[in-house]
């Protein structure tokens, strides 16, 4: 069955529908990773967005439930060039089509993803809609232009606090802004206990259990929308507790300390972004997924300094806070999908936590 992706600038892409047969509107972004589509589709940071996969063949190793990064697909739509007809991997339990159906997510295949990506690179991220007919195009475009990704953190965060490894000597409080499973696993693997808190948890509630370290997770949407979380983080900043922030958590810590964020033209989404550690001059290949970034000039040099930069466009990829045990990164050291080169960030955090306050 035919379906269309209509962009807010009037550009139309024709494809074949798969997954759930329904119409939807989303922010259209592209991801350049060549493997790891299961992890990508289930990453809560994609809430409100439709994902264009630039790698042309998707679904070739099917769907592997244990590789999901949350309990559902958070993306609103999936756009791919070629949908694999046969899946091959020893852990596969189903194909991509049924996975999207189970999650009520529409997909389009047969899309000219190369052309679409070039448009998004030239004009920047755009909104778009998945529809079955394009008869009333003008009204549709008006409708698309009204769409905004908002209040997404409250949708993706966990409903109640949950503790893993409560008997471990060191305990980490994880503020769940849309955390990927592998952030929790990366901490647990290093022998600490983790309590996951919903995004609206207060400063007092987080401190009540006297955590040895705090993690601010990744998450979706515009960081400036997280007004309450920024206030909470301002209070956390004043304690001496070691804090690690990833992605949205990195942006919120910056906002909480007076820096500013902006929106990238078309974002960084993929598994092949080179990042330089300014301390060691070592270059790492990182996994990334973000549309917003911290503006370098807005960082007060008395408060913090840039620790990592992106080698493609020079943007801020990591910040170290002065006189604090706080460091944050824009990329994803937990990988899944993507390279495991920067797992050392977790080692470093655990080392600081073990040092104590």
């Amino acid at each position: 069955m035919k379906g269309y992706l209509v962009l807010e600038n009037g550009e139309i892409f024709e494809g074949e529908r798969f997954g759930t047969n329904k119409n939807t509107v989303c922010e259209v972004v592209f991801n350049t990773a060549m493997a790891g589509y299961i992890e990508t589709f289930t990453d809560p940071s994609y809430a409100g967005q439709g994902i264009v996969m630039t790698y042309p063949l998707i679904g070739n190793y099917g769907v592997i439930p244990e590789d999901e990064e949350s309990d559902r697909i958070w993306a609103k739509a999936i756009f791919i060039h070629d949908l694999a007809q046969y899946e091959n991997n020893f852990r596969t339990t189903k194909n991509l089509d049924s996975f999207l159906k189970e999650n009520g997510v529409p997909g389009l295949f047969g899309i000219n993803t190369r052309k679409l990506t070039k448009i998004l690179r030239d004009y920047g991220t755009m909104r778009g809609a998945v529809v079955s007919d394009i008869n009333q195009l003008e009204e549709l475009i008006e409708y698309i232009k009204k769409y905004k990704v908002e209040n997404v953190v409250e949708k993706v965060t966990s409903e109640k606090a949950i503790t893993y490894g409560s008997t471990k000597p060191k305990q980490i409080a994880l503020l769940d802004l849309g955390a990927k499973h592998n952030i929790i696993n990366s901490l647990l693997k290093r022998g600490v206990g983790v309590t996951v808190y919903p995004a609206d948890t207060s400063y007092e509630q987080i401190l009540a259990r006297r955590p040895d370290g705090i993690m601010l997770s990744n998450g979706p949407g515009n960081p400036e929308d997280c007004v309450e979380q920024i206030k909470t983080i301002q209070k956390l900043y004043k304690t001496n507790i070691p804090i690690l922030g990833i992605c949205l958590g990195h942006q919120l810590m910056a906002l909480a300390t007076g820096a500013k964020t902006g929106k990238l033209k078309y974002g960084h989404r993929g598994a092949n972004h080179p990042v330089k550690d300014l301390d060691t001059n070592h270059v790492y290949i990182t996994s990334q997924n973000h549309g917003y970034y911290v503006l370098e000039d807005s960082i007060d040099p008395d408060i913090a300094e840039v620790s990592h930069i992106n080698l493609n466009d020079g943007t801020v990829e990591g910040i170290r806070y002065k006189n604090k045990k706080i460091f944050t990164v824009q990329f994803h050291p937990e990988a899944c999908p993507g390279p495991e080169d920067t797992a050392y960030i977790f080692d470093e955090f655990i080392r600081v936590v073990n040092e104590g306050m």
Binding site: A35, I38, Y61, K276, H282, L311, P337, G338, E340, D341
Partner: protein
Amino acid sequence: MRNKKIKKVLVIGSGPIIIGQAAEFDYAGTQACRELKKEGLEVVLINSNPATIMTDKNMADKIYIEPLTVKTVEKVIEKEKPDSILPNLGGQTGLNLAMELAENGFLEKHNVRLLGTSPEGIRNAEDRQCFKDMMEKIGEPCVASKVVHNVQDAVDFAKEIGLPVIIRPAYTLGGTGGGIAYTMNELEEIAASGIRMSRVDEILVEKCISGWKEIEYEVMRDSNGNCITICNMENIDPVGIHTGDSIVVAPSQTLSNKEYQMLRTSSIKIISSLRIEGGCNVQFALNPNSFEYAVIEVNPRVSRSSALASKATGYPIAKVATKIALRIYFR
């Protein structure tokens, strides 16, 4: 940015176009010569094959069309007095020649430095026992194997690693007397005949991994220890069918992110432990029904797969390997 002490470089060319040193090395060597000239260096080239692009007049400052032997390369070095030699872009022949010159002390005597990976790193990658020891040291699995001299030891080892196993008699032509044993009875029979056929009464018992997926990674490392993977590749036919008879695709098609990253991390660990400076090709066998894998081999140089990976991805592997040899870093 580059090492300023390097002024005149000898490049060992690709030689004749036969299996083991094919036209792909002409492509790599040509990229290297261009890059060296771009860096303002004097390039001396030796190649036995005049029917190559790299022996075109404008590729090098001096071109010697001579047999690729230790003797002729020594003569060229004596005459031209290069300060450096770039060995890892001319295929196995170039690498072997450079290794011989390093080992017989000729390079040191004439103050010629070997650019790229150190002779020790090359030895650790190329010598089967050194390589196996190194992999054991860093905890990377190789295909389990053992040299035995009687049937009982063969049976004991097969019990340890599980059937099927491959029996390879030592010093027999074309593996006469060897074979794959699927049962203990077969093993006893083949081991006995293998020992009988071998003139030193010796056989190698090796875990049979035919049917496993054959996966390769093209990795590059600079002298600062920065590593990148250019791509990975998957052979459409499994282990047991020669790579030369198979179709290879880049990137892999049947690996989930988990297997992909597991082998990527492993290949970076391997290239780092060997301290490769330049391009490197790491080959793995992966059990199609689990995460079990084995490192098959490593090519510590630009190889035929590199040319393929370079074409498939658009990444100029030979050019970047040359830059790395000149101590220009990823940054």
